[in-house]
Amino acid sequence: MALQSLDIMRRSATTTPSPRQRITQEVVKLIDVSKCIGCKACQVACMEWNDTHDDVGTNHGVYDNPMDLTESSWTVMRYSEVETERGLEWLIRKDGCMHCADPGCLKACPAPGAIVQYSNGIVDFHEENCIGCGYCITGCPFNIPRLSKKDSKVYKCTLCSDRVAVGLEPACAKTCPTGSIVFGTKEDMIHHAEERIEDLKSRGYTKAGIYDGPGVGGTHVMYVLQHADKSELYHGLVKNPSISPMVSLWKGIVKPFASLALGAGILIAFFHYVTKGPNKVSDEIEKEFKDEK
């Protein structure tokens, strides 16, 4: 992404600052689940803009198609039929990358520059730097990245970083016929969400609220949920997403210290050798066998 090369907040497996002279506004894609009619136009627009072509699947007897995210289907509609105090409800959630402020994928990635986070909040995979280890899948709290069997690279929603860079909105937001998906600055989107929540509450959805993953520092894809207190109703949307403590331990402070310890081990060995000298056969024993010959 040459156009955005000066606004990189973070870069995977990089210990020095990234070029971040340009500071862009934080953007958010807001998905109002209460407005979604499940038409899948967003899925189509995503594939059309990104030129991805998934295999033709089979009918599983439900609306979900494909059944899961794939390396070619970066967003899928999740349909859940649930019983609430309001009776039977059909909850349809557009699933895909949440673009976390504290991305578990980026934290886990061992390949320099394979995952970047722009100052506008978009978390993007740069597949040319990807080594195909799948650590991002291990690190992601939302189970989003998918490893391609064809090229062993991982793929996920880019939040149309290429479109956003030139002032366009993501393809899914552009195409959504009900205005369920809207895109703009974080400030505007939160303001819009608050209005929507107020409206939902006035219609009896007393627990309506915003879902923005505070455990991962906030997300740049947010949901307006009718039942914000029960996010699991929406096809198991994690209630309090956060980077697993295991991943933090795995990628934490211990590793640089362990690396230093290994280096120190080599130095200690070297100085042991030059101070104590080699462990040779003693002169006494040498003499004993020499005499014998």
Partner: protein, 210 residues
Amino acid sequence: MKSDPKKILRYSPSERANHWLTALTFVPAALSGLCFFHPFFFPLSELFGGGVWARILHPFTAVIMTVSFGVMFFKYRELNVMAPIDWEWLSHVREMVGSDDRNMPEAGKFNGGQKLLSWLMAACMVLLILSGIIIWRAYFSFLFPTWLIRFASVVHAASGAIMIGMIIFHIYAAIWTKESIDAMLYGWVRRAWAKQHHPAWFKEMTGRGK
């Protein structure tokens, strides 16, 4: 090859081949593993033709290493049993490191340090191969739940680092103890060397009690 007829055979040709196969597969396994350990080591991936090749080769070299180590460990399983004398040897290890071996109890073919190290390495190998299979994304990870893959990632990184540390120690011990690399390369050792470093083994091989 045996230049001096009075030399003692320490490692047979098959033992030597077994050891060096383990060593030669350890090197690429460790160097490629370090690439993913910390960004500081990522440039090592150039040795393998880039990060993708490092990722592809790491598990295969590691599997060969593990099998080869397993054969060696099985072969030495009885020699490596820790006896009271080995624990005593270890209790004097500070003096040994300080180049004073006067109070060291008489070591057999392997001393207490060598025995303990081989058990610790075996433990690390088991942890590495089990966790390694779980995080081998190309073929096996889909079989396991995410929480287990996360746990295995931690176990793999930790046991890998400990393993590399132990190998650094092992290599240094071999450099420090003169002629021991020759022993592993050529198989035969001088009687003086055997008596110096492994007196109990020397007596056993020569029948000399002195």
